[in-house]
């Protein structure tokens, strides 16, 4: 899911911005083309007027054309950019006057002037050409008048319009891009809000999302809620199942163990007693293993989704001391705790509890009678919990391996335990960004330190 390469927001933004860019370019092109058309048309109208006025001024006298050019024919071509003007007057195909090469025959009579754009005298010109057949005897005379004008003014106008269109297009694009950013952000905000509210939840919060969401998101949220309901249901079911299974197994085990204890008090024969003892130890071992497996599963589960709270390590450890004091007493052990005042941290209390309980459990198991198991909670240099005992200590060559799953010290073969305790403590420490340190005390005994 994570980092799969594309973002809905980026896609939406890019689509909107891309659309705006296409629209802006389209706008620019359309305006430019339209303006070009209009400008060309207006130049053509003037050229047409010029050509027509020249044509009107022509008379045929004795088979020869006389053309008294009206002043206005050219002065009307005056433009802001002072465009250059060229013209050519042909009788038949013969140039009577004007510029050679501007237009060339053969010419045929036409009703409307013909327009063309071409290069002439070092620039682009628009040429209007009109050919009329003038009545004369013995035969009509073909008169062709061409007037050409450079396109500087047109280009200037076009440039102005193009710049304006480009500026407008750019402004439109910038506004649209801003709108796109805003739109995509605001459109996707509910999604982000839902994601954030779901992410903020604790590991066991499987309530449906009830906040109001946009219509488009409601199928997603509905599916999500349905999933949550199913998940919650199935979690409840498995919890019930595990509880039921534990109940079904642990209760008979308890029955057997109690019977065995009673029987052990009554029988005298050595081999029978031996068998009963083995039975009791086997029951204890399997019960402890089941408990630690469940603990470990829980640590793994919660480790992914820490339910961090403001907790005081001292008060957590004091609870554990209260809880385990009866067990310690049974073994004639002293379970003590010391601290330099409260040690507040951000942590998942259930995990910390589990880790410390397992460490203390271990310490109690490996201590010899009438010794002390001590918990020290310290805030300096960082928050830490130290559990020390006065027992046999960790096997020197296996300190590293010890906290690996199911590893047990060589020198602990005879003590009931699954070996998961240190692994649990280590996992909890690492889930909180800390570590578990194991060492042997010089005065003898093991020392386990949980750093947070």
């Amino acid at each position: 899911m994570r980092g799969s390469g594309w973002s809905l927001r980026r896609r939406l933004t890019l689509t909107l911005i891309g659309g705006a860019a296409v629209l802006a370019i389209l706008f620019y092109l359309v305006v430019r083309t339209y303006a070009q058309g209009i400008a060309q048309q207006s130049q053509d109208r003037i050229l047409e007027a010029s050509v027509t006025s020249l044509m009107d001024a022509a008379v045929v006298r004795g088979g020869q054309i006389e053309l008294d050019l009206p002043y206005a024919a050219f002065s009307m071509l005056d433009t802001a950019a002072d465009d250059r003007v060229f013209y050519a007057i042909h009788q038949g195909d013969v140039l009577l006057s004007g510029y050679e090469g501007l237009s060339s025959g053969p010419f045929a009579p036409m009703g409307e002037p013909r327009f063309a754009t071409r290069g002439f005298a070092g620039g682009d010109v628009r040429v209007a050409t009109l050919t009329h057949s003038l009545p004369a005897s013995p035969r009509p005379v073909l008169l062709t008048v061409s007037v050409a004008q450079t396109r500087d003014s047109l280009s200037g106008t076009l440039l102005t319009i193009s710049i304006n269109a480009a500026v407008f297009g750019a402004v439109f694009f910038l506004l649209a891009a801003g709108m796109a950013l805003w739109t995509s952000a605001s459109t996707l905000r509910p999604l982000g809000q839902i994601a954030a509210s779901v992410a903020r939840r604790g590991p066991s919060d499987l309530r449906p999302v009830t906040r109001s969401v946009p219509t488009e998101l409601s199928p997603l949220v509905t599916s999500f809620n349905a999933l949550m309901t199913r998940l919650s249901h199935s979690l409840t079911q498995s919890e019930t199942f595990i509880a039921e299974a534990a109940h079904r197994v642990r209760t008979p085990l308890a029955t057997v163990r109690s019977h065995a204890e009673v029987t052990l008090m009554r029988v005298d024969k050595d081999e029978n007693r031996q068998a009963l003892r083995s039975m009791i130890r086997a029951i204890d071992e399997s019960s402890r293993a089941a408990g630690q497996l469940l603990d470990h599963a829980m640590v793994t589960f919660r480790g992914d989704q820490l339910d961090k709270q403001d907790v005081d390590l001292v008060s957590i450890c004091s609870d554990i001391v209260d809880r385990l004091t009866p067990v310690a007493e049974m073994m004639d052990l002293d379970l003590t705790i010391s601290s330099d005042g409260p040690v507040p941290v951000q942590a998942d209390p259930i995990l910390v509890q589990n880790a410390v309980r397992n460490l203390v459990d271990n310490a109690l198991k490996y201590s010899s009678a009438e010794s002390v198991v001590h918990i020290h909670v310290s805030a300096q240099p960082g928050p830490s919990i130290t559990v020390t005992d006065q027992g046999i200590g960790f096997p020197k060559d296996q300190i590293e391996l010890l906290s690996q799953r199911f590893q047990r010290g060589d020198n602990a073969r005879d003590t009931v335990g699954s070996g998961l305790g240190l692994t649990i403590a280590k996992d909890v420490a690492e889930a909180h960004g800390g570590r578990l340190e194991l060492k042997n005390l010089e005065a003898g005994g093991a020392c386990a330190v949980l750093y947070f």
Binding site: V256, S258, E261, P326, D332
Partner: protein, 221 residues
Amino acid sequence: MKYLLIEDNAELAAALCDRMRLDGHVIDHAATLSEGADFLHVGDYDLILLDIMLPDGDGRGFLERHRARQDDTPVIVLTARSEVSDRVGMLDLGADDYLTKPFDHAELQARCRAVMRRRAGAAQTVIRRGTVALNPVASVLTVGSNETTLRNRELRLLELFMNAPGQIFSKDKLVDRLFSYDDTVTENAIEVYVGRLRKHLEGSSVTISTHRGLGYRLDEG
């Protein structure tokens, strides 16, 4: 001490009752919550052992009602669930302690004693033999006017002897009772504890005698 056990599993209940009685305790057994309520209605108990899953309801509901009645009889919950999930709920609802099945009977006794000790107002039985008085809850031995606090194993050993004066306990059985069926503990360990008890009992009318090949016995002078 008088216990009420509320437990639907008849086999476990029978074994537990058997075990408790062997230690000289009085114990009544109720198979359902309503039966348990009936027992509580007519009798006084020092401590209630409560199973959490019962045919006619959840033990938690019982706990709530129990505390609502202002009944301060301590309750130890026996649960088959894993430690974590029930712990907080149990203690919040007013259980004094809890124990996960299967459990060591010695641990049950230790927890019972701890609970009783916390409730200083609760009745505290004192076992008396001659000039010796033993308060198992407070773990205090009184010889004449001389009070000694005993370590747990000394206490449990002495409690055994004082509950059954004249009975011979084999070293083997004593090891099992004191060391939770630990194979590695030798019978010599018992001699150490017996030696300590003898020292505590000096000057009293009570002695612990050695019966070679058989074990130890408490004699009242």
